[in-house]
């Protein structure tokens, strides 16, 4: 299988936004900030794959509608996670890019469905690494997503389950150069999930850029303390703005621009 490479060596795509879309106001507040910062994308979960079935499961289609509205208002492209094969086309119709989460890396029926849908639309797919998957297993699974001709698949490292408990997951930063060496896929690093706490996010984000990441995913919430999911790891808007300024310096030193 050959892939059409679309890695832009001069830019780093920032995929920031709330863990979950909780309300129009919450999503708007983040979107306005992202737009002011000159960024192009907003992320937001509508269907949340939660460890406990009693946790907040997301607003569903209503959340997608909010994300779409806010994206249109601010001129931001939208990305959200698709977790169910039967919902895939509906989710796809609302957003500019789909995310397949770590828990679904080996859900082959979902991968085939996303491949079929995006094979026509060529909407980008962010394909997260399973929390116990080897890089080669991840690369093989990615071929299910590109099977129907969508070349716009970006891999996303999000941390591994290890014996370490001081972070939520252990971020495998070496996945970035290894994927670059072994494949033609661009690589995103989700720094929020492995951190598990906002205070670790800035250093992990800098590490990801230094390792050569093509994109970063960072969770931002207007009021993380009130967040319905993953509050401790989400940055406030101000924290994100400060971090972005620092990241822009680092990116510039590497001849890159954060978009």
């Amino acid at each position: 299988m050959t892939y059409i490479p679309y890695r832009d060596p001069n830019s780093i795509v920032m995929l920031a936004g709330p863990c979950a879309v909780e309300s129009l106001e919450q999503t708007q507040e983040v979107a306005v900030m992202l737009k002011e910062q000159g960024l192009r994308w907003i992320r937001g979960g509508a269907f949340k794959p939660r460890t406990s079935r009693y946790s907040f499961q997301g607003l569903g289609e209503q959340g997608l509608a909010i994300l779409q509205q806010v994206g249109a208002e601010q001129g931001l492209k939208t990305i959200t996670e698709v977790i169910d094969t039967p919902h895939a086309e509906m989710v796809h119709s609302y957003v500019d890019a789909l995310q397949i989460g770590a828990r679904n890396m080996t859900s082959y029926s979902l991968l085939k469905k996303v491949s079929a849908i995006t094979g026509e639309s060529h909407k980008p797919v962010l394909f997260k690494r399973g929390m116990a998957a080897t890089i080669d297993e991840w690369l093989m699974a990615a071929d299910y997503v590109t099977a129907d001709g969508n070349p716009y698949v970006m891999l996303c490292e999000r941390g591994l389950r290890t014996f370490e408990t001081s972070t939520r997951y252990t971020l495998d930063i070496s996945a970035v150069p290894v994927v670059h060496q072994r494949s033609l896929f661009p690589v995103c690093v989700d720094v929020s999930h492995p951190a598990g706490q906002a205070s670790l996010v800035p250093d992990l984000a800098r590490a990801a850029i230094a390792a050569g990441a093509d994109a970063l995913m960072i969770e931002v919430h207007p009021n993380p303390k009130q967040a319905k999911s993953d509050g401790p790891q989400q940055l406030t808007c101000q924290q994100f703005v400060d971090l972005l300024a620092s990241l822009r310096h680092l990116a510039a030193a590497m001849g890159k621009t954060i978009i």
Binding site: M1, Y3, I4, P5, D136, Q181, R182, S183, L184
Partner: protein, 102 residues
């Protein structure tokens, strides 16, 4: 059979087995020499391919090609190794070939 003869026969059997083992170990040493030479030949081809892949927009890790390699192994496998056992061996060979630094 007295004790002396019994221990003499056991010693003979042992010497026979020992001889057989030495003979086969010598054969294995010869084969290993060939395998090492062949693996290095294989590595040289893999290295040339790796150099030319970027120009063809081909990835270093190509799961489809690796499957073709394994199917080819199975086609020429006449045993006693099982196909699955050959795949185990080749998993290591293919891993090393991807990580060549010549």
């Amino acid at each position: 059979m007295d004790g002396f003869r019994r221990s003499f026969l056991i010693a003979e059997e042992r010497r026979d087995s020992k001889g057989i083992i030495e003979e086969h170990r010598a054969a294995i040493d010869d084969i290993d020499e060939q395998i090492v030479e062949l693996l290095n030949q294989r590595a040289r081809h893999a290295h040339v391919i790796q150099i030319h892949k970027p120009a063809e927009q081909m990835a270093l890790f190509d799961p489809q090609r690796e499957e073709e390699v394994c199917i080819h192994l199975e086609e020429c496998n006449e045993g006693p190794l099982y196909n699955e056992q050959l795949r185990y061996i080749y998993a290591a060979i293919l891993k090393v070939m991807k990580e060549l630094r010549v």
